[in-house]
Symmetry: C2
Subunit: 410 residues, 2 copies
């Protein structure tokens, strides 16, 4: 290596609580390798960079304390974007702007942290680099609470989100049980439009066999409303305060989301169609058909931004994957995403590898059908064995005046 040059990091897609741990890991790896002079950060991902938005990260994160604080901060420190890079034949000027920026700032490596769409950016940038014979390396670092990336055992962000879901569902089940002399149903709606990983994690909430959540529905299996009502009726006989967990994306198997069955519900005072989530829809269905006390709870954005149930395993792995990404770049790799490999199941052990980003960016990994019970209302023990190691260990979040102390861009 004649001179060290610089590198740049971006974050993109939806927030998770582990994505800053990945950023912290990349920064740590860069400091340890001493392979770059300056580290820049795209502000609001590749879209922000196109508008000239970036900052110098090496100046801001010099100490271990600052990196530790960054690692436990939810959401993207650098800001995010949802921007699909057009193909370079369609918009060559975009690539010219970006690569001119890289060249004029002596950028040798681009690290991009995100999910499927972000890996599409990694794929396009690395292919353009190859086309123009640029030596710039582009490495993807995975993150998504959805856990739906192929070519990796799991994704950072999923473990903490799964832990949040399991903890919260356990608490909601206890909350629901205080009036257990009266029958009631609580529907918990969990994130996941196409993959049910996070909803499946609610099974971890059970304290004993048969405990709530008794019923769990994922988007991977067609949802039958009549069968659902029968299941609820039967479950209420043994579990008077029933908790049911459903993915936001449960559907009829023919491309129609269950919540869309309510789409002719009516309009609000402004003439807008009222949007109803799958939980709200099922709440109304049960109220109408079974006449039992029912409520629905949407776990909402806290699933991806709550720092209160951080999984140490998840954060450590995110951190290490960032450092591994630096090594991969230094070893000359490009157009690759860091892949999580389960080296051993019991005891759980993880190692890292790299995978071709072109394969990853156009696929979604669903929960295997063999991990879902035949009647589609629960997950099997195989899922539990898969997911349990990912939520282990807790993380002390530093506090000030009783509240978590997060890193933020001023």
């Amino acid at each position: 290596m004649l001179s060290k040059g610089n590198c740049i990091i971006g974050q993109s897609g939806g927030p998770t609580v582990a994505i800053n741990a990945s950023l912290s890991g990349v920064l740590q790896g860069i400091i340890e390798s001493d392979a770059y002079n300056s580290v820049y950060g795209m502000v609001h991902g590749i879209e922000g960079l196109l508008q000239g938005s970036y900052l110098n990260l090496s100046e801001q994160f010099k100490t271990k304390e600052s990196l530790d604080k960054l690692a436990i901060t939810p959401s993207m420190y650098l800001g995010s974007c949802r921007f699909k890079l057009p193909h370079y034949e369609v918009a060559p000027e975009i690539y010219e702007i970006l690569f001119n920026f890289f060249t004029s700032n002596d950028i040798r490596t681009v690290f991009y942290i995100g999910g499927n769409d972000s890996m599409d950016t990694v794929s396009k940038l690395s292919r353009y680099a190859a086309k123009i014979q640029s030596p710039i390396r582009v490495i993807g670092v995975p993150k998504t609470i959805d856990n739906d990336l192929v070519e990796t055992d799991h994704t950072p962000g999923f473990g903490s989100a799964a832990k949040f879901v399991a903890t919260t569902v356990r608490e909601i089940a206890i909350d629901a049980s205080v009036y257990d002399n009266k029958k009631s149903v609580t529907i918990v709606e969990i994130m996941g439009r196409h993959a049910g990983w996070l909803t499946a994690a609610s099974a971890l909430a059970r304290k004993f066999e048969g405990d709530n959540p008794v019923l769990i529905y994922l988007p991977e299996v067609a949802f039958n409303q009549e069968e659902f009502l029968e299941k609820v009726k039967k479950a209420l006989e043994t579990t008077p305060n029933l908790v049911v967990c459903v993915s936001e994306g449960i559907n009829d198997g023919n491309g129609t989301f269950i919540c869309e069955f309510a789409s002719d519900v009516g309009v609000d005072t402004f003439g807008h169609k009222m949007l109803t989530g799958s939980g709200k829809y099922l709440e109304n269905l049960i109220k109408e058909k079974l006449g039992v006390k029912v409520r629905s709870v949407e776990l909402n954005v806290s699933q991806r931004c709550s720092s209160s149930c951080l999984s140490k395993t998840d954060l450590d792995e995110a951190d290490h994957s960032g450092a591994f990404a630096v090594n991969a770049a230094l070893n000359g790799e490009t157009g690759k995403m860091i892949s999580f490999v389960r080296a051993n199941t019991s005891p759980y052990e993880l190692s890292f590898s790299t995978a071709d980003v072109n394969i990853i960016c156009n696929q979604e990994k669903a929960v295997p059908l063999s991990w879902i019970t035949k009647d589609g209302s629960d997950v099997t023990d195989e899922f539990i064995r898969y997911a349990a190691p990912l939520i282990q260990g807790s993380v002390d979040v530093p506090t000030e005046n009783g509240l978590p102390l997060f890193a933020f861009r001023k």
Copy 2:
């Protein structure tokens, strides 16, 4: 004291995360005082007891470990009820059943842990005891996340709920800021039909002056929709990712909840009126009138059952108030609720007293108007000074397999 006799404890009303700390405190106080032979627990409050549902608590909670685990368990260990005792002249047979049970089981004291409605039960039982010249003492132990009891500085359960609200709002604000190159509004709906204490606690989330949540609306002040829209428009100029916190109970000052303005919205597929929360209503209002990106988040039941943001101050105080209740009973008091007295403001110090339960049970304590800004869109520093001490200190929740380990009735 010739013989020790027994006592019974009940829990009632809505769940909080501190109500089992109060129960643990009463049990601890009983063990320490050695003043009773056996401690019974009503299962599902006074309503359950009327149906003969109770258990022996002294057998189940003998060790410090078991009491500690109970203290951090959210919701009512003993189950709850929402049952208003009829006046004894209307239904004397109910009182006869209860007092026959007390007498035949040598019950000397009834401890009842709850909010306004539960204090009504304490009031009625103690007045009936006086009427029939029964020596049975009835003591109320306060709890409510709503913090709306009079004759007490605050109520156990509020501190932890306030901490949950402030923490979650801080996280939501960070989550909302990742796309801050585009304007957006996030409405957070917080519990509180008539009193805005919990919504006011969202002000604690701010990391610096002017930080989110920029606007806070409580039920104590009439809500004007036009003024609200003007405020939002103005705030978006300086805070592109605006977070607004509103109580579920915001109203027009003339007895109509804001969410009721949407009540003619339409019916669902079953012909039911669609119920819209205040957050959802304002989301639609902003979408229609300002055309800006907007979403609403309902914090929902986690406000009262999340163990992830326990305030040590809150749990310790709940615990101590339980022990104080035992002493009050042993000192011959009856028809009283344990009252929290702020003995010193800076540094914060708390002491306990007792207050006439008959005054408490028919009133609700609102946030003082002097603690709300003149335009009704924020709280003052006086509120911050009041609330900040109540969220201090964190509690380690014991875990097993990565999830909180709670006490539960088998």
